[in-house]
Amino acid sequence: MANEELIYRITRAVYGRLGAGADERTVEALVMDVYRAVEPALAGAAEEGPKGGAEGRADRLIVSVFGTDHPGIVAAVSQILAEARCSIIDINQTVVQGKFAMVIVADISRAGESVAALKDRFRGEGDRLGVRIYAQREDLFNAMHRI
């Protein structure tokens, strides 16, 4: 099941950042918040079939985060998305030689704030965390990398 797979991936990512000693209930609440935000978008994506995704969408953001690895990065970024009512559609996160890299595809169609406001919050949070957070509409990537 794709949903279980997604829940598992979010949980793994959150534990990965907060460490194994993180409060179980906080993690569970955070994962469920993120998951609930994601779920409607997943249903929408299934209805639209593969074409919707393949064309790149104006209502999706690609959030990319780069910097030195430390606990709390995934949690902080997903917290901002959750608060703005943006669903996470996909997450990919790696750490290579202490360098943290994460890409989140987020659905902003139900977002309670503008992209500019969201980016401001990412900038502030990025400064606090010591990482660079970029947010760009998905259709830019589609235009540049897909024919």
């Binding site: 393949a54 990319s64 996909d90 980016k119 970029y134």
Partner: protein, 455 residues
């Protein structure tokens, strides 16, 4: 994940580190319905129309840039050649209210330049265009955002040498009128062979007579992106591989630019026109066409072989862009403005890049002698002769060429003229000191070449 991490990283690197931006979103606007009996009425209509049509241009484009994470450096407007909007003037001073109205309207809607204080005189003039050409120096010296251009030659018409001669004179006058600012007015004026009607770049943008009521044209940049890729390619990679590399990048730049243009057009309710693929440098280190040329294998831009390298670059940019979009237009090639490109400035200072080498390079790039400063005592005839050479390259090769030259008042070879901002700083370059005055004083017309008879 729909995109690989490498793809996402590449886009982020381009937009955040390699200065990839959309150089300009330019609103082309017809003013043909603003023709009135008096210049005051015409000016009022022009002012009203620009302010009404372009009211949302700047905030809308900025918003799109923010959402895409792709900076749109400049928002601009091009208008119907102003000489066509008011052709009744018989003296230069009559036209100044029109120039000021256009400039003020541009200021009010927040664009940095407005182009189209222009006249098409490639085959001759009218009493109205004569007065108009006379008005250009004062119009540019007394305004901030106004840009002007003259079409003095086409492959079909040949070269109007009377207009070329007069252009040399008004360039001198412009320099003199803005003496204390290094001759700044000259930086806002360009003369063309085979002028392009949908060019979004300044100073030469104007809204051609065959264009629709209003249109959004986009100028994409990206020398920084190409420079980075060329620099990181193996130093012994053959040139066909380098061409392929540049072509692939150009494809991506064009696609990103077209996305911005189409989105701006949709939100503004104005039709999308063209995307101009020109690599346009800025004074920022790295964002330089000169550096790309050097990365291809030269100690300095201007060294022997530079023309061949520029030919490769321009052609690869065009091919990549043409594959990416069916709305390619404007100049589409590479710009080599000396003052706006850090590596070109350095090459000129070191003596690697001469005026003659630049002239040769213009035969294979998208424009011509651009933002070139020459000694302040260069005569109007010599400037006209430099223009004539450049126009001949355009006319005979069926391409656009242009001259934007600044005879910097009181300056001589070795001095530097500071314009600031995007216009950068221009090292004063030496000019061949032998006279061309008899040739220029002949006037008349250099007939259209045999290959203009194509029907």
């Amino acid at each position: 994940m729909e995109y690989t991490q490498a793809e996402i990283l590449q886009t982020v690197r381009m937009t955040e580190m390699e200065h990839l931006d959309v150089r300009t979103v330019t609103l082309g606007l017809s003013l043909r319905d603003c023709v009135r009996a008096t210049v005051e009425e015409t000016a009022e209509c022009v002012r009203e129309k620009i302010e009404r049509t372009a009211a949302r241009l700047v905030p809308t484009v900025d918003e799109i840039g923010e959402e895409l994470g792709l900076r749109v450096a400049n928002k601009r407007i091009s208008i119907t050649p102003a000489s066509l909007v008011f052709d009744r003037a018989r003296s230069a001073s009559e036209l100044i209210p029109l120039a000021r109205a256009i400039d003020e309207a541009a200021g009010r809607v927040g664009v940095d330049f407005i182009g189209g204080y222009s006249a098409l005189v490639h085959k001759g003039d009218t009493p109205g265009t004569r007065a108009f050409v006379d008005s250009i120096p004062e119009a540019l010296a007394s305004t901030e955002r106004l840009c002007s251009s003259l079409s003095v030659a086409t492959t079909r018409a040949g070269i109007n040498m009377d207009a070329v001669r007069r252009t040399g004179e008004i360039i001198k006058e412009m320099a003199e009128r803005t003496r204390e600012r290094g001759g700044l007015a000259c930086a806002k004026f360009v003369c063309f062979a085979n002028a392009v009607e949908d060019n979004p770049f300044m100073a030469g943008a104007f809204h051609g007579v065959g264009e629709p009521e209003a249109v959004i044209n986009v100028g994409v940049s990206g020398p920084g992106v190409v420079n980075h890729a060329v620099r990181h390619a193996p130093r012994d990679a053959p040139l066909d591989e380098m061409a392929e590399l540049i072509k692939r990048l150009s494809f991506k730049l064009a696609r990103a630019g077209e996305l911005v243009g189409r989105e701006a057009a949709r939100r503004l309710g104005i039709r999308f026109g063209i995307i101009d693929l020109s690599l346009a440098p800025t004074p920022t280190p790295g964002d330089s066409v000169g550096e790309i040329l050097e990365a291809l294998g030269f100690e300095r831009a201007g060294a022997p072989g530079t023309t061949a390298a520029l030919a490769l670059l321009t052609d690869a940019v065009k091919k990549g862009g043409a594959m990416a979009s069916s709305a390619v237009g404007g100049m589409s090639g590479a710009f080599i403005p000396v003052s706006e490109d850090a590596a070109m400035i350095e090459a000129a200072r070191k003596g690697a890049l001469t005026l003659e080498k630049l002239e040769a390079m213009t035969s294979v790039c998208s424009v011509g002698l651009d933002m070139v400063a020459v000694p302040g005592d260069t005569s109007a005839e010599t400037i006209a002769a430099i223009i004539a050479d450049e126009m001949a390259i355009g006319v005979m090769n069926n391409k656009t060429t242009a001259v934007r030259i600044i005879p910097a008042p009181g300056k001589t070879v070795g001095d530097v003229v500071e314009f600031g901002g995007l216009l950068g700083s221009a090292p004063v370059m030496p000019v061949n000191s032998f006279s061309s005055s008899v040739f220029i004083r002949r006037g008349g017309r250099i007939p259209a070449p045999i290959h203009s008879l194509r029907n």
